[in-house]
Amino acid sequence: MNTPLLVWIILAPLIGSLLNTGFYFYHVKKQKISEVIFALIGTITPLISFLITLCLFLQMQDEEVVFTQDLFTWISIGNLNIEMRLLGDNLAIFMSMFVTFIGWLIHIYAIGYMKGDDGFGKFFAYFNLFLASMLILVLADNPIILFIGWEGVGLCSYLLIAFYYQDKDNVLAGNKAFIANRVGDFGFLLGVVTLFFAIDANSLSFSTIEANISNAPTELLILSGFLLFVGAMGKSAQIPLYVWLPDAMAGPTPISALIHAATMVTAGVYMVSRFHFLYSGIEDIGTFIAYIGAFSALFAAIIATRQQDIKKILAYSTMSQLGYMFIGVGLGFYSTGLFHVFTHAFFKAMLFMGAGGIIIALHHEQNIFKIAQHRAQLPIIHFTFLVGVIAISGIPPFSGFFSKDAILAAAFQNGEYLIWAIGIFTAFLTAFYMFRLYFVVFVAPTKHVAQYTYTSKTITIPLLILSIGAIAAGFLNLPEVLGGETRVDTWLSQLNSHKLHLSHSTEYILMIISVVVALAGILVAYKKYAKFDVYKPESDEGIIANKFYVDEFYDKVLVQTSKKLSTFIDKVVDEKIIDGFIMSICDGFISFGKKVAMIQNANVRFYAAFMLVGMCCIFIYLYNLLGL
């Protein structure tokens, strides 16, 4: 069904961004504008998007319908037509529902967080643009439009991570995010091109690709599927392109929340789900994705256990949770993976916003042991943070349990016992490091309690709303074995090539195992950290605390080598060989020219001699020519 509403989902935040940009320029050049105006524009526009999405969602409840909107023909070459068309099917609407909703809440939170900042207006301009880019990505009807959004979120993440650009480290972090993403984007682009080559159709919309995919040679599809996933590795911070994510914590906290919960990192999972018809045909690549996800989950969780920066712990936990999502989508359980995206968005946004609240209250202190030394009185943040920690640890009936457990059950059913085992072990680690964070920050004994209560409503209200989601979102997809209806699975049923059909007893056993494992993790964390002496913090030495030296390894192997190669090419190949060759040709011409110039010496007799020689030559030539 064609509806003009679809474009307004994207346009609303885009217009907001443009308005804020304009006002911000006015603010900087002419006269100060109150923060209220920026905040109003910045928060109302995502709300409009959310309300439109909600309307479409409700309409989709009543009737089976897929919304589309044709805007214009973008590229038309020969038979090839690339339409600027938006697609609002079940997947896109599902995704944009929580992207806009949680994005909106984070915008509200940002009002309180960014209060008094010089770049308040600029921040909201970027923030709205970020949301608009993500919505372009979600509502795209073909991979090319998807790529616009894909690049848009990359750009915005760069702008926002390097938001405090006066500090060089932040700029470097922004660069790192951008460059790591470029590597992935290159893969994505190659993947799209390969796919275009493989299907050989006159349009590139998802429906055309799906219709023509059976004609395409399998090898090309495998290649394309792999390359597209390289893009997802970059965006969704999976091994080996994850290094930007922890550094991305340099930006203000609302950005971390937005990147980690609603936009950017979920783009990879969404993209794989979008190409479900492709990936369900090439199950080997799917398994590969699942393994990459599993190892990313484990790897990040191990690193997270020894980090001391509160936001970096959360960043690694995001990477770990994204690993779970990729296990889900890689094994063909797209709705399960997306459900984890959905629940994760709630509790991860909440955790980041809670962490942001603490960080503000303690004047930008991020080390958990130092936070513990000056604990602030923050009852609402304390409560919501606890909810988030429980949810991410996978304790029923909080939302994280259901989504994570469904993924593990899917792995178990597919016979990928290694992935299942890694997942279970990661669940243990997750419970451990999240409760380590919680116990150190909120429970461990401390002598000094700062009488500081953060009261800004714009910070606490979004937290409370999200906490409801974190507690209850799991019931949307309650598995049958617990008497639920698996609503999300049904809603996204056209994606799934597999269905969970384990026996009830097996499912119970799996659930019990994961709950026991999570409780064990909490217990270990309790033993070790509940009475932890925060005045003697853990050492930050050792291989885990140093993140397995991956950054150093990349620096040595990739950065330094390519630097050396570049220097070699510059100094030797370019200057010596190429310049030498070209310059010697030039020198030859110049010295030859100087010799020629010597002839023109204005000496009459010399000229006359030359004339004579020339005439003789002509006569000899004519003599031979005429055969005289």
């Binding site: 023109q600 204005a602 007799r605």
Partner: protein
């Protein structure tokens, strides 16, 4: 009777002496006289062939050459005077002002 070849040979010698004079001598007067020699060589050639073929056309041309040479002499001598006034010399190598003195 002196053969045609002998006449041709003499006129070619005259012409060659003229050419060598133009190329090898530096004095403008000598150059001028060498040019006259070349003209004379050619004129001799014309006259010889005119006699040989009993055709007066060539004779007319040779008289024309002599007339032009006379006119040329008048111009040439006045040019030489002008040149001498400007440089106080009759050496051709001095008159290389067209190179703006770059190579001299």
């Amino acid at each position: 009777m002196i053969s045609l070849t002998s006449y041709a040979f003499v006129s070619m010698i005259l012409f060659s002496i003229g050419v060598i004079g133009v190329i090898a001598r530096r004095n403008i007067f000598v150059i001028y006289m060498s040019i006259e020699l070349m003209l004379n060589g050619i004129t001799l050639f014309f006259v010889t062939f005119a006699r040989y073929h009993f055709n007066l056309d060539a004779q007319i041309i040779s008289i024309l050459v002599i007339a032009i040479a006379a006119a040329e002499a008048a111009i040439f001598l006045s040019v030489i005077i002008l040149l001498f006034r400007s440089k106080k010399s009759l050496d051709t190598d001095v008159f290389n002002t067209l190179t703006q003195g770059e190579n001299s």
